[in-house]
């Protein structure tokens, strides 16, 4: 056994929209650990607080919202919630990276994809212009984009939805983070593209040895991807456990209701 301890240790995390005092709680004191290299999944319906939890780790608020955070988010023993903004910058994107559902919203439409990755690499890693581009092309190849050297000169709109998500993943893993947080990374994608992106995330996780925190409403997406599952409902973790155990023998009535509602491709319509 490793004695390194958890990579991420979250204790009594709270998040509330609005300013302290008059705030509406959305995450109500949750605790969990992520071990180095481990993959965990957060499942729940919209509004359960799973995305706010993911963003809270990086002290990001959902767009246009102000969020008050409480509790402790220890990354390698240091509480990220207490970190000065400058040091937080060093963690965000470098040690812990994130990909979102809508890659178009995260990319600058008037810069080529290559320029955007170059800029990020130069900012985080002090690379020369030429070294950055070399690394950019490597990264685009790593995430399965064909002919990466010439695709680097294309603009985001010239990529399909799945290819854009690959670009976002390339940016996210560019600094070889310890933890990749993926918030509904395949929700907007077609089913065959979804399968490709999930395969890519699995491969990168193993090649780069990073931990993965996958947030989704879809039990099917979680099933083959993670070791641990946390089921969230109304800002709380109502059930946690090893993925096989949760699917085989869910304990909480809410988990059971969610699992029972999943449409099964192997089950035909009941009537007539």
């Amino acid at each position: 056994m490793s004695d390194a301890g958890p990579l991420l240790q979250v204790r009594d995390l709270t998040a509330a929209f609005g300013r302290a005092g008059a705030a509406a709680p959305v995450v109500k004191g949750i605790s969990f650990d992520v071990a180095p290299g481990e993959a965990v999944g957060f499942v729940g319906e919209s509004g359960c607080g799973k995305s706010v939890t993911a963003r809270a780790i990086l002290r990001l608020a959902p767009e246009g919202a102000s969020v008050t955070l409480g509790g402790r988010v220890a990354y390698r023993g240091r509480d990220l919630l207490q970190l000065p903004a400058r040091e937080m910058e060093q963690v965000r994107g470098r040690r812990i990276a994130m990909v979102f559902q809508d890659p178009m919203a995260s990319l600058n439409p008037v810069m080529t994809v290559g320029q955007q990755i170059d800029d990020m690499l130069r900012h985080h890693q002090n690379l020369s212009r030429r070294a950055a581009r070399r690394r950019t092309v490597d990264l685009l190849g790593l995430v399965g984009i064909r002919d990466p050297a010439s695709r680097a000169d294309d603009y985001p709109h010239q990529f399909s939805g799945g290819m854009r998500q690959r670009v976002m993943i390339a940016m996210a893993v560019s600094c070889e983070p310890d933890l990749l947080i993926a918030d509904e990374p395949t929700t907007a994608l077609d089913v065959t593209v979804q399968a490709q992106i999930l395969r890519l995330l699995l491969r990168l996780r193993h090649e780069l040895g990073m931990a993965l925190m996958l947030i989704t409403h879809d039990f099917g997406v979680i099933a083959g991807m993670v070791e641990q599952v946390f089921v969230m409902h109304r800002g709380e973790i109502v059930e946690r456990g090893a993925v096989d155990a949760i699917f085989r023998d869910p304990q909480h009535p809410y988990t059971r209701a969610l699992l029972a509602a999943i449409p099964r491709i192997e089950t035909a319509r009941r009537s007539s």
């Binding site: 099917g220 699917f247 449409p263």
Partner: protein, 329 residues
């Protein structure tokens, strides 16, 4: 005597004209299918496959460039707009987003009365009664008539949208991704409601969706679209159990399964999806061994009772098909 289908679509084509230097887009390229009374036809495919355009062209919300759409035995494609308006009470639609498809400043009562007034479906003094009836039909409390859409959850709004579609007693309802914006439990409830309404009212659904698991729970028959064409059509159970077209196979293989061991095995499978070319060379003979230029017959093959497959968009190496497409994708 064989009952005439409620809806009969033949060689439907929709081409969007060239715009700003971009070439014309042939969104639908010769689609044919029938829909019987009380039946659900699932129309599945990925974004850009032409499934939504097909649904819009059936309803004449998008005028087709060619082909025929017959509803209740009447041709819709060349119908004058007045007649078409009258036909609309027989065909209604339910769209994906229940947040944008209801007018925010109209009460539920107003929303449901509007189609009744437009189609003179019931006399004015009976409208309130019909509105209450519609609300109970979709399991909403008739007392909500004076509330506004924002007071309802996504699932309740979709119930209101469904009630509005049913106001004029339609025969056909085109549902375009009706549950994809909803949470899993709400999806299951809406699917249950649609199925119950079909049994009760004898509705026919053209159910357009990208989620093959949802479609499975509703469809009697299935049409799989790719590149503007239907590539496989037939009994839903048959296609789900023994898909024939390689595109259908790749779609079904990609659906995530909520079973960790199965899903891990699916993701670990080395061979990627077969590469299906969007523009196929006119190979002769085709993958079923038929030279269509010689026989003059359409590229459409019956592989089982009522189960048809197109030989368009077949991966090129059928000769030694096994393993021919293995390798890194």
């Amino acid at each position: 005597m064989i009952e005439e289908p409620l809806l009969s679509v033949r060689d439907l084509r929709v081409t969007f004209p060239p715009r700003r230097g971009r070439p014309a887009v042939r969104a639908v390229e010769g689609v044919s299918f029938d829909l019987r009374r009380g039946e659900t036809l699932g129309l599945v495919g990925e974004s850009g496959s032409g499934k939504t355009t097909t649904g819009r062209a059936v309803l004449q919300l998008q005028r087709p460039s060619a082909g025929s759409v017959r509803l209740l035995g009447r041709e819709l494609t060349d119908m004058a707009s007045g007649d078409l308006r009258a036909m609309r009470r027989h065909m209604q639609f339910v769209l994906q987003n229940p947040y944008t498809s209801l007018h925010p400043r109209m009460t539920v009562g107003q929303i449901l009365s509007e189609p009744l007034a437009v189609h003179r479906a019931v006399p004015p003094n009976r409208r309130a009664e019909r509105v209450a009836e519609l609300l109970s039909l979709v399991h909403l409390d008739p007392k909500v008539v004076d509330r506004y859409p924002h007071e309802f959850s996504g699932g309740q709004r979709q119930r209101i949208v469904i009630a509005r579609a049913l106001a004029v007693n339609p025969d056909l309802v085109v549902c375009d991704e009706p549950v994809s914006a909803l949470d899993v439990r709400t999806q299951a409830q809406i699917v249950q409601l649609l199925s119950e309404l079909q049994d009760k009212l004898g509705l026919s659904y053209l159910f357009i969706a990208h989620d093959l698991a949802i479609v499975r729970s509703l469809a009697h028959r299935l049409a799989v679209m790719f590149g503007g064409r239907i590539v496989e059509l037939g009994d839903a159970d048959r296609i789900y159990e023994t898909p024939v077209h390689p595109y259908t196979q790749s779609l079904l293989d990609a659906v995530p399964i909520p079973d960790p061991a199965l899903q891990r095995a699916r993701l670990a499978r080395v061979a990627p999806e077969p590469h299906i070319p969007r523009h196929e060379a006119d190979l002769s003979p085709c993958c079923f061994g038929e030279d269509h230029r010689a026989t003059g017959r359409p590229r459409w093959h019956e592989v089982g009772p009522g189960h048809h497959v197109s030989c368009h968009f077949w991966p090129t190496a059928q000769a030694g098909a096994d393993g021919a497409n293995a390798g890194q994708g």
